[in-house]
């Protein structure tokens, strides 16, 4: 059959979409298995502090991560394991931070989901919701000062985070400065245990977009296909000078706030609703239906991911924990200005 130029493009686009979908699914599997392993280590008492899973949010998160390119900025939130992997975060970084390895990016000084490399565009979140948005704004402003264009900054937040003053200030700031910001709201129906009805009174969170003067989009967060298309479009529009993009995804958190929370407050009817679908299962069935992968192939993806996770955990469990007696107890980069009573020992090379 003779292909026209147009249909060749369509074929290429379809192929590329298929590849991205398969890639996205594989990151989702890896993120889910990594989460399961962290939950298991937590229950076994091997992890200090909390463990926070991205179960149910993988499709949205991975679609964002895959839509970004090297050089972009990503400020993930607590349920963005899949997006982090897609953005290039090694499995080892996650395991090292959860287990407090001194070889991890945070070296035991911060834990669990608070990890990243600011200079590489992957920001380690602080716990105060909404606070990362303006930091990404500032990074984008700096690039504008430096005449660097074409980069996008992406930030994840949840329904609860939209109620913070920081969210308001930063989205307004991004709009005023016309920054290439993509702000992705995962409306997983609950902020810890607080339902949407006690969080906001507008009909939909996407209604906020018009108030800030930014583009708003809705997406079914359980549907990887829809997420890839919507996030891809939002990122492309931001990159092409379309200003801030707000994307609101509807989904359900398929776990507690953290592994300490049994989420008893989530009604069975909500779990049975379309938002309660497991995005991983939906994506897998889509793959089978489209014959982009068969059951054997997805089983293989799982085995591969499980092996990666097991190897990472086995490696990190042999790594040293931070030594308080060899720690540089100095919070300042200007060490000469730290006070003598805080006496800083020499920095140990990392």
């Amino acid at each position: 059959m003779l292909q026209t130029l147009e249909s060749q493009d369509a074929l290429q686009a379809a192929l590329s979409f298929r590849e991205r979908f398969v890639q996205g699914f594989r990151f989702m599997v890896l993120a889910r298995l990594l989460d399961d392993k962290m939950a298991s280590l937590y229950r076994g008492g091997k992890i200090h502090g909390g463990v926070f899973l991205g179960r149910g949010q993988e499709a949205l998160s991975v679609a964002l991560g895959l839509s970004l390119k090297p050089g972009d900025i990503f400020a993930p939130l607590i349920r963005d394991g899949a997006g982090r992997l897609a953005f290039g975060e090694p499995v080892l970084d996650a395991v090292r931070t959860y287990l407090g390895s001194v070889l991890g990016p945070m070296r035991g000084r911060d834990g669990n989901v608070h990890r990243g490399y600011p200079r590489r565009g992957l920001l380690p979140m602080i716990s105060h919701l909404g606070a990362m948005i303006s930091v990404v704004n500032g990074m984008l402003m700096a690039r504008r000062f430096k005449k660097i264009s074409g980069d996008v900054g992406a930030v994840s937040i949840g329904d609860g985070g939209t109620s913070t003053g920081a969210f308001h200030e930063a989205l307004n700031q991004a709009a005023v400065e016309k920054l290439p910001l993509v702000l992705v709201v995962a409306n997983n129906q609950f902020a810890y245990s607080t339902p949407n009805a006690r969080q906001f009174a507008c009909q939909s969170l996407v209604d906020k977009a018009v108030g800030y003067g930014v583009t708003g989009r809705m997406v079914d967060g359980t549907n990887l296909e829809a997420c890839l298309i919507t996030l891809g479009q939002a990122v492309a529009d931001a990159r092409q000078g379309g200003g801030p993009q707000l994307v609101v995804a509807e989904l359900l958190r398929l776990c507690g706030h953290g592994e300490h929370d049994d989420a008893h407050y989530i009604a069975a009817s909500l779990k049975a609703s379309p938002a309660g679908r497991d995005c991983l299962q939906v994506a897998e069935e889509f793959l089978w239906r489209k014959a982009w992968a068969d059951e054997e192939a997805t089983k293989h993806f799982r085995q591969e991911a499980a092996q990666l996770v097991e190897e990472a955990v086995a490696k990190v469990q042999r790594e040293p924990a931070p030594n308080p007696y060899r720690q540089n107890w100095c919070a300042l980069a200007s060490r000469h200005l730290s006070e003598r009573f805080e006496s800083c020992p020499p920095v140990q090379p990392l």
Binding site: H128, S134, G138, M139, K146, L332
Partner: protein, 321 residues
């Protein structure tokens, strides 16, 4: 020719902008308007695109500064009044102050706080916030008392690889002057003996240095030689210079315009009591504002904060102990 404390701040920012392309200024009304106090007068014109008006969003202003610093810039944030830094407190203490410790990425931002009381300022335009910021690890807090220090310390603040809270006193803006801008300065972290004496040490910072010097002058007429130590920066705090002064005089009076509870004067006394208890000939004393919100009416305001008169009275009392 003389230059005021406010002009010194403006000149320091002009020099920082001229010398370093990484510097920019971001704050409310700092652009064409030149700032509420005119500390950025004409800078937007002289440095197009680098002096930016911000929305009334202190949290987002500081957050953006942190982001820009991660990218290698050296932002100066002007808070319109120190009092209004509280909506930005979270970004200052949790984001900026923790960044280096958590990630080893420095956070070179300067946050200018027009601080302290002026007549008629009232509860929300008069506060001194230095103690709150000094409490948090990862921040440097500067409190210049002279026009020379306002200039040189602001330049140093921009050059330092850490977040600096720069507390500039509004009362000094117009009345405090230097003959010329300094070309050399004491390093940050070193206190200055503003007046030498042998009978009593007054430790002060910011505008209280000027009032303490005036009180010392009065007491000199009564035959008492008062030493005045200007802390210059309260974090780092130059304990060595303070203890050395107390070693000379045996008596310590700490003066601060901020509220007394858990503040700089308490910290200085704690350090002297810990490290130089045996040097004291009398119990260390301190003088702060009253523990109430800052009043509006001049009759109330002049009594609320330490004055030349009350500093003098406290010093006379301590000399009698």
């Amino acid at each position: 020719m003389s230059i005021t404390y406010l002009e010194a701040i403006r000149e320091a920012q002009a020099k920082a902008l001229a010398d370093d392309p990484r510097v920019f200024i971001y704050g409310q009304d700092v652009g064409a308007f030149g700032g509420a106090f005119k500390a950025t007068k004409n800078l937007a014109k002289e440095f197009p695109g680098r002096v930016l008006d911000a929305p009334i969003s202190e949290d987002a202003m500081v957050g953006a500064a942190v982001g820009a610093a991660i990218e290698g810039m050296r932002p100066i944030i002007e808070m319109q009044f120190a009092d209004f830094s509280t909506p930005g407190l979270n970004q200052i203490i949790n984001q900026a102050a923790s960044l280096f410790w958590r990630t080893q990425v420095p956070c070179p931002i300067t946050i200018r706080l027009p601080s302290g009381g002026t007549s008629g300022g009232g509860p929300f335009h008069s506060q001194s916030m230095e103690a709150i910021y000094a409490h948090y690890p990862g921040l440097i807090v500067m409190t210049p008392a002279t026009a020379e220090d306002a200039y040189s310390m602001l330049l140093e603040a921009v050059a330092i690889d850490d977040p600096v809270i720069f507390c500039e006193h509004k009362l000094l803006y117009y009345h405090c002057k230097a003959e010329s801008l300094p070309t050399e300065a004491m390093p940050v972290g070193k206190a200055r003996i503003a007046r030498a004496g042998r009978d009593l040490t007054i430790v002060a910072y910011s505008a209280m240095v000027q009032d303490s010097l005036a009180a010392a002058e009065e007491l000199a007429g009564e035959g008492s030689e008062i030493e005045v130590v200007d802390l210059r920066s309260i974090k780092p705090l130059d304990t060595d210079t303070v203890v050395a002064s107390v070693a000379r005089t045996g008596r310590l009076l700490c003066v601060g315009e901020a509220w007394p509870w858990g503040g700089v004067t308490a910290e200085v006394i704690a350090r002297v009591a810990t490290e130089g208890f045996g040097l004291l000939d009398a119990p260390p004393q301190r003088l702060n504002s009253k523990d109430t919100p800052i009043p509006y009416h001049p009759n109330l305001w002049t009594v609320h904060r330490p004055t030349v008169r009350s500093i003098g009275a406290a010093a006379r009392n301590l000399l009698r102990m």
